[in-house]
Amino acid sequence: MAETTAQLPPARYEFGGDEFIFVELDQEMSLEANFKAMAITGALREKDVDGVIDICPSNASYMVRLDPDVLHPRELMTELKRLEHSAGELPENYSVPTRIVDVPVLFDDPWTRETLLRFRDNHQDPESTDLEYAARINGHPSVQSLIDAITSAPFIVTMLGFVPGLPFCYQMVPRDRQIEVPKYVRPRTDTPERAFGYGGAFSVVYPVRGAGGYQLFGIAPAPVFDLAQKLPDFTDHIAFPKPSDILRYRAIDRAEYDRTRADVEAGTFRYRIREVEFVPSAFLADPDGFNRELLEVLYR
């Protein structure tokens, strides 16, 4: 992953009006930028600064919401710049305790297919399905080859947001193997709940039905958001994904999809989860070897 270990440019600090500060660590996506966002926001969370309301790490940037009646935005900006130096320079042995999760996906399913066909006028290529289009522009000879690429290596959650519980996931492969697709020319006004989508270099699972601009590839039988907190994985929180979670998307058939849906409906579904230590330096040195080990831990 040599091409992404380059130094990041100087961070850009911007006021989002009086209630937000936005910090762009890089205009392009890299794991390094994301780790830096996670490290700085983690350090800020620990400082427990009075007047800070929300701390939101994102892919290659982060954002903080503040109460300007308690904390002046300029003061917070100064503090964030300090944190960039004290917490943003990651040591070589930096590691993140996280978890790897098996996330089943039914690719090319009837529900997202119906939706994407309804919105062909909003798409770059009205003549193809989203999977066919994405396979072609990423140099895959077939849709199956694209699906194999998605399921061959896990993704890391680099941002939560858009709507509650939506994970933005970045695949843990060198840049020359990253899949990249544009967002719809004009966003759709409808997307099925639990749709698996792709936009830019990110995959997502849509938590709820609603608008969306990502290419539609499939649907997950298990939720990422459970307002009723009925499923055991949601006891502590309404959103399942957490920043830095590692998700392995596994292609399933219709029979497994239906079985899993029945488990979800019965309230008995549990994600397959294993605790792991993510060591970025080890991953960057040998991505394929590192991923192989992760999957062994997950399915052992």
């Binding site: 006021f15 989002g16 009086d18 762009e24 929300d54 509650p164 544009p182 020319v185 958001f225």
Partner: protein
């Protein structure tokens, strides 16, 4: 049981309070009353503590029956109101009894009336707030806008001396509802994506609010904005409006496609992949709340100190409202 009976829900009436902070990082916006000034003044007029839940109506107000004696007030948009069909003043403390019905006539100015009721609307709290967020159906009354036949629990009226009927907010302390809303904007975020010329044209254009205008955001039309040429950074997607997905501040403005600016509001999507070019100052979200489809908007560039000054001014105006009410 003290209840509010909804005879008619109006166009889009929701329970709102000062908002639900602290959930932005998982993608949940704060919701809350869009016009915080009018909402706060309403609570003052009925003697509620700040933060008591009120109703936010949109364009067409609801028709509501009371089941006990209450102090109420309607603030926000300029909407003629009635009790049992008789006109009564807005921005003024009113008393109602069991069986009395509050109604709304066609709005004359603004967009969102607020209905404050002594004791507040006592729907269950969700994550420390009663604000409605309809996208995931949380907060408020069953997570949705009011419909005909709904019954809402009301809280215990506050003890102590409530403002007397006829207490009013002086006209000078009521929001102005001008023909073209001036929205102060802190330019920044990803404004580097626009050419200097485009940024100037953005603030020189008078924009018109389209029919896509709700609590999530307002879409505008009226001009075309050029993006600066660049090779798209890795991970962003190929459209010139695309950036690597990032956080969107509440009040931020993005321009997907270059011709349809979107202002994100209290029920905002919290992030995404379109370039943001600036943020409306927090105080001016009150002004956006009182604009509607077909109304016009000017963006006025300011800096963060201006935004802080505007916030102090709003607080001092609210203190004057409180002083006027306390007599």
């Amino acid at each position: 049981m003290s209840e509010l009976i909804v005879h008619s829900g109006g166009l889009y009436t929701t329970v709102q309070d000062s908002g639900r902070p602290g959930q932005y990082a998982i993608g949940m916006p704060p919701s809350g009353a869009m016009d915080q000034y009018s909402y706060a003044a309403g609570n003052m007029l009925v003697g509620n503590a700040p933060g008591a839940a009120a109703l936010e109506a949109t364009y067409i107000g609801p028709r509501l029956e009371f089941t006990d004696s209450r102090t109420i007030a309607v603030t926000g948009a300029d909407a003629p109101i009635t009790v049992n069909g008789e006109p009564v003043p807005a921005w003024e403390t009113l008393t109602v009894d069991a069986g009395d019905v509050l109604g709304f006539e066609t709005i004359r100015g603004g967009a969102r009336p607020y209905i404050a009721i002594s004791g507040g609307v006592a729907v269950p709290e969700y994550l420390d707030s009663r604000s409605t967020y309809t996208l995931t159906g949380i907060g408020g009354h069953n997570g949705r806008a009011l419909t005909d036949g709904d019954r809402l629990a009301l809280g215990e009226p506050p003890s102590g001396t409530a403002p007397k009927p006829g207490t009013s907010v002086p006209a000078a302390l009521r929001p102005e509802l001008p023909g073209v809303a001036q929205l102060r904007l802190v330019v920044g975020l990803c404004s580097y994506r626009l050419t200097t010329e485009a940024l100037r044209s953005f603030s020189e254009t008078t924009w018109k609010i389209t029919k896509d205008a709700n609590r999530v955001g307002y879409r505008l039309r009226g001009g075309t904005i050029e993006f600066a040429e660049r090779e798209q950074p890795f991970g962003a997607g190929s459209d010139p409006a695309n950036v690597v997905d990032l956080g969107y501040p509440i009040g931020s403005v993005q321009v997907p496609g270059g011709d349809e600016p979107i202002i994100l509001l209290n029920d905002a999507v919290t992030g995404g992949g379109y370039a943001t070019v600036g943020t409306i100052i927090s105080v001016d979200r009150d002004r956006v709340a009182q604009t509607k489809t077909g109304d016009q908007i000017d963006f006025v560039p300011v800096d963060v100190e201006d935004a802080m000054t505007a916030r102090r001014d709003r607080r001092s105006r609210l203190e004057k409202v409180q002083a006027a009410i306390s007599g």
